[in-house]
Symmetry: C2
Subunit: 319 residues, 2 copies
């Protein structure tokens, strides 16, 4: 299989991406390949600088770059020669099996929808983040910013998408899905969460275990934490800043270290017809390496196909 | 002045409340008094147990208790002899100047509105929490759960209420008000936050400095963090659990210790015609003591009157 990497994606690209790709390639089986997508001269120069073997990779030349601040739709239309636009073209045509980037996440989202499309039945694709628990296990928090204005039925689908992701990629059996809320009782929260609770409470699509609170995040009560993208993004950035603050103050142990985003390699875009991974903008080489390895894993477990199958049952249950 | 204390309010009441009252009383000037509201026999017994002088306090007998899980409106109607209902009666009739409780916060909210009413022009009263910054200063985060379904104009008023609170009680000059969001640009966030930004951007009622992110919470960029009560409550509980997790793991220093809720004594209900303080349900004696001292301070700086005055200018600006 072939993983396409946006060489120009991320705040520390192309150094971080090429260095990460070289590290990931060493863990790839012989039949699998990393396709480096970006300006050829930059790629060759960076490979040389980091002691990478150009023959170990496939290089796809794309001269342009979509910057972090650019408007996703406009940038994709204006820059067909950008690494992101080119990556999605390769994905669509089957020249790569999966595409990963730590670049403009809006452009990744729009590019994915335009090129490989949303899985039929999915209202809104979503992105997630891994939250480590104190006991060494992890939970998946979603959505983390892709859908700041989610509706109840969208939150319901996040429960399904997160559940399948947890099961197939993180090998959590029958994942416990919790709705993030401001109290455990059914009537707690705002209208959005009250309605979502009603949809979820008798779910046959996933193992809904009820409302959870901000204070439960580090405990092993829940495997999939469902919330809207506004709340999720605030939590994500708050937890990141807690981690950075603790490291800065020298307050760390193995659990605090497990909060380092570098370990988790980003998030698949859940609910689209292919494998697309989005990394953190501040990804360093370790994070990029882990993003590439996660991309391969998400493709290998056929996550997208598993979601499609679940959606067939899902539709039957609903109608 | 007289501060009324709900002796039965909080998970550790009446031990915590009586012990906290005894400690606070030692810091009260001679003319000021703490009025203990609850079952007389319980109060006298607890005073004896904690070595408190009954003559140092006024005791207001109220036999009933509103429990934490009870429905606020129903409980207040059914239990006129409860410490919360009785406290608001005393406040309304001027027998006490301020009322504080770590009990059922819903009942405190409803009781306040029914007894002393919202300040004219205030759409929704709000509650806040203190977030310590790494540099030793504090910021005020509001709303933290009173209004899980806030509208843009309600968020706007939170900016004003938080600003006045920061200025008069925490002596922060011209407080910087930030809107919590998922990006700093004006168009970021969901519809609620996009609309609130438009209302705030040219505010003459407070010093709006723009959007802030979850990652800015510990930095000294903002003095008043405005968000809806759903998001605020999630943040509040998450930060509390971060603090508890760090203490449990032995990862602490003076900054982490400053996150201890005990130091801050709860929150005034902002936007009502009197001084009403709500403490954390898990308040121990130190938290209760600080709640009583904060109640006295909020009354003394005439916070409610300052808000009324601001509202007069506010209305002029708007019409």
């Amino acid at each position: 299989m072939k993983v396409g990497l946006d060489v120009m994606g991320g705040d520390f690209a192309p150094k971080s991406t090429i260095s990460g790709a070289i590290q990931a390639q060493k863990e790839f089986p012989e039949d699998d390949q990393i396709v480096l997508i970006g300006p050829e001269e930059v790629i060759l120069q960076q490979l040389e600088e980091h002691g990478g073997d150009p023959d170990a990779f496939k290089i796809e030349h794309s001269p342009d770059v979509i910057e972090m601040g650019e408007h996703p739709t406009k940038a994709l239309a204006k820059k067909p020669g950008s690494s992101i636009a080119h990556g999605f073209q390769l994905l669509k045509n089957g020249h790569i099996d999966a595409f990963a980037s730590a670049g403009n996440s809006g452009a990744m989202m729009v590019g994915a929808i335009y090129s490989v499309n949303t899985i039929q039945g999915i209202i809104r694709p979503t992105s997630s983040v891994i939250v480590p628990k104190e006991n060494g296990k992890i939970s998946i928090l979603l959505d983390v910013g892709t859908n700041p204005d989610a509706k109840p039925d969208v939150l319901y689908q996040f429960g399904l998408l997160g559940s399948i992701y947890a099961q197939y990629v993180y090998h959590i059996e029958n994942p416990r899905v919790g709705l993030l809320n401001i109290g455990t009782e059914a009537e707690k929260g705002n209208l959005l969460y009250q309605s979502a609770y009603q949809l979820m409470k008798n779910s046959e699509d996933f193992n809904f275990v009820g409302n959870m609170e901000g204070r439960d995040v580090f405990k092993d009560k829940i495997d999939v934490i469902v919330c809207d993208g506004f709340t999720g993004n605030v939590i994500l950035k708050l937890l990141e800043s807690v981690y950075r603050m603790l490291v800065k103050r020298g307050l760390r142990d193995s659990y605090i270290d497990s909060m380092n985003y570098e370990n988790y390699g980003g998030t698949p875009l859940l609910g689209i017809n292919s494998t697309v991974l989005m990394g953190h903008g501040i990804s360093n080489d370790v994070a990029i390496k882990n993003m590439i390895l996660l991309t391969r894993e998400v493709h290998n477990v056929q996550l997208s196909k598993k979601i499609k199958q679940a959606l067939l049952n899902f539709s039957t249950n609903k109608d």
